[in-house]
């Protein structure tokens, strides 16, 4: 088995001794150790992108490990198929080793770096508490103006929070989140690129990666029957629930974007009612998001204990909870728009959305960004000749 020392030595030799090779962390060294076992076995090559990417390498440096860790979808297939999984003394558990490094990369690549620590504190309690706290704050603000239980709003929440106030609250949070994530993934991309052929992005690679992201190809198990959840059975549940969540989120996002266009371009002011486009998108997206997150929650709770990094469960559940609360409160707001509860519902919804966006760059959402980057690098790299060339012999 490869020890940290020899791994570092080999990494140095790989680089011709010229470059300074970053010393691996214990979690990274563990991925390196397991990859050396996997690379001499390779039975799992058909499951996903990680193993074919692995076979292009003889040694695993920091950047290789970061790339592979984010390429792993934690589907669990390789764990259940592994002849070296615990209780075997080799103790190979690729999903867990990868998840632990993945969690570390989120922290390492966070922008600004000081906020990376938030990843460790963004659990379920914090997420819900943040949403509740923000909602309470808004409720108190409205209550002080005496408008909390008001039948005279006629479904128009701009009477409570003027449009410009909402924009000035949400736009900075949203823009900051987007910027922080972009900065993080930019640095990740720069670090990983030299280890993944160094080639620039091209059309076919982008198309292939987009396909893998949008279809969640690697939750299909390689055979299309799905990934593992609580045991060695393959199931499409996770893939489907993730689709409902992802596309639900995108529809809600589209609803907001269309509404913004309506407001600024056409001067059509909310609220919009069915069958207007923003409402259609929002209702369908909201329901989809609710079903998807409820399903993901259930699957997460039933998940085999050896899958992934248990320490990240609070982060997973916190994100799922915020998405669920956002969709639930959004739908409740729509259904309760004509009642005196409008103000409270609005405050709850705005609290949930604000908490969601505020935690976006330092929570589970990051997985989509970093995994997409890794899938892109994989699609680029695989189009280059295999530097190892074992198959030829």
């Amino acid at each position: 088995m490869q020890q940290l020392e020899s791994l570092t030595r080999e990494a140095v030799s790989l680089a011709g001794g010229a470059r300074v090779i970053p010393i691996l962390t214990a979690k990274e060294a563990e991925v390196g150790r397991q990859m050396q076992i996997c690379n001499s076995c390779r039975y799992c090559e058909g499951f996903c992108a990680v193993f074919p990417a692995m076979t292009r390498r003889m040694e695993f440096g920091k950047a290789d490990i970061h790339f592979l860790a984010n390429l792993c979808h934690n589907c669990g297939a390789c764990l259940h198929a592994c002849q070296y999984a615990p209780p075997h003394e080799f103790a190979v558990n690729v999903p867990k080793a990868m998840a632990e490094v993945r969690g570390q990369t989120y922290v390492d690549y966070a922008w600004p770096p000081a906020l990376g620590k938030l990843y460790q504190r963004n659990g379920l309690t914090l997420s819900v508490a943040l949403a509740a706290g923000l909602a309470l704050f808004l409720i108190l603000a409205v209550a002080m103006k005496g408008g909390l239980w008001n039948t005279g709003l006629g479904g128009n929440f701009y009477k409570l929070f003027p449009h410009n106030l909402l924009v000035s609250l949400f736009a900075p949070v949203f823009l900051f989140s987007a910027f922080a994530l972009a900065m993080g993934v930019r640095r990740f991309w720069r670090d990983v690129t030299p280890a993944t052929s160094g080639a620039p992005l091209n059309g076919p690679a982008a198309a292939e990666a987009a396909d893998a992201v949008l279809r969640l190809k690697y939750l299909g198990g390689g055979h299309g029957e799905g990934c593992n959840n609580e045991d060695d059975a393959y199931s499409l549940s996770r893939r489907r629930c993730h689709h409902l969540t992802f596309y639900g989120f995108m529809l809600c996002f589209a609803a907001t974007s269309v509404a913004t266009l309506y407001h600024y371009v056409f001067g059509w002011v909310a609220p919009y009612e069915l069958p207007s486009l923003p409402k259609l998108l929002g209702v369908v997206g909201g329901i989809s998001l609710m079903i998807g997150t409820a399903g993901l929650w259930r699957l997460n709770r039933k998940r085999h204990p050896l899958h992934g990094d248990l320490a990240q469960k609070p982060m997973d559940l916190g994100f799922i909870a915020l998405l669920f609360l956002t969709s639930l409160s959004g739908l409740a707001l729509w259904l309760g728009r004509g009642t005196p509860a409008l103000a409270v519902l609005l405050c709850l919804h705005l609290g949930a959305v604000m908490a969601l966006f505020a935690t976006l760059p330092y929570g589970k959402f990051a997985h989509g960004i970093f995994r997409t980057a890794s899938l892109l690098r994989h699609a680029i790299e695989k189009r280059k000749p295999n530097p190892v060339g074992l198959g030829a012999d």
Partner: protein, 470 residues
Amino acid sequence: MIDVLVVGGGNAALCAALMAREAGASVLLLEAAPRDWRGGNSSHTRNLRCMHDAPQDVLVEAYPEEEYWQDLLKVTGGRTDEHLARLVIRASSNCRDWMRSHGVHFQPPLSGALHVARTNAFFMGGGKALVNAYFRSAERLGVHIRYETPVVSLEMDGDRFVAATTEQGERIAAKSCVLAAGGFESNREWLREAWGQNERGEWPADNFLIRGTRFNQGVLLKHMIAAGADTIGDPSQGHMVAIDARAPLYDGGICTRIDCVSLGVVVNRDAQRFYDEGEDFWPKRYAIWGRLVAQQPGQIGYSIIDQKAVGRFMPPVFTGTTADTLPELAQKLGLDVDTFVQTIADYNSACRVGRFDHTALDDCHTEGLAPAKTHWARPIDTAPFYGYPVKPGITFTYLGLKVDDTTAVRFGGRPSPNLFVAGEMMAGNVLGQGYTAGVGMSIGTAFGRIAGTRAAMAAATAKTDHHATT
């Protein structure tokens, strides 16, 4: 009473259980191992050697019956049964749809294994994924499964199976029974006895590693032999390869193999070469090197390569011993420095390098050297140098119960009406010696399915008999 009792939990046992259940029998499967270690050696396998006359899904070109048979004839040196071998070969051509129906997935050959793209169908995820799929399918179909239930003896009424007794002392009666509990490769005492003491006074088997499960203790095999069942095969024969000497005693599996033999030289403890490392393509020779190393003093060898070989073979799981000079390498490996340097110098000066091509039987060879290296002979002269210690790694033993194409266990030539055997416990009928990749699974699948069907038929007959008499 249950209809069919299956003893064992690997590929052959599962194939038998599934077939018996599909034929309508009630089935109980007893696996000696706990659930985490179920599946025996099947969990370490990766493919099935398949006959096919035209390209078939993951299989390219054709691998006709005759070629398959000739391959088998060659590796066994004629120690095989043509009728049973051809039965296996034909069964391998049409069993995969059935396997798929029980959840097994196939995939194109793994990288680094393209040489078997034509002959072998790979299991997606390997043998453990196959075992998982079969157990899942068996459970769904209503096969009863008990783990940690090794069977130690059978109760017979003449040639007829009556009941099995477990290690815990429980008596389990059934109308018929399939034995598929593996060879005796995990039983180090028995291996020691089978291999005996050599002319150097060593007990060679003491230095063997077991590539697979620790649960194939051969308890039932020994019991059957004592009970007078007809046997076949030599207890010292088995599927044996040279593996990394640092591999664990059990379950090292595929990743401990050393694939760089044909790219360099192999020396023994005395720093002497002992066999033509370049005799043929490595996939055709890997199965003889276990025995070759077993015959060397201390049952150890050292595969030596130089920098030119790096990247041309599957990366080994353990890092090799590295040195910048040959004397330093000898020292690190614990070999006599002068002898080692002389051996390499003799080899290097005997090399006649033509056009090196590892994908063909090239013209790089030695002249005036004994033993010769007939292909891929290039001087070992480019630092860094690497050494990998190798030991014999036994995969499974060939001593088994003699059968005909019904898989019935035989006593003095008479077939039992309701006791059948499959898998490693009878693979010696086809494999008298030698091995070729994926044939173990072909044998297990073919005879496991036959045994399951026969056992279900025997149980149904027993039912009818019972009704006839009441």
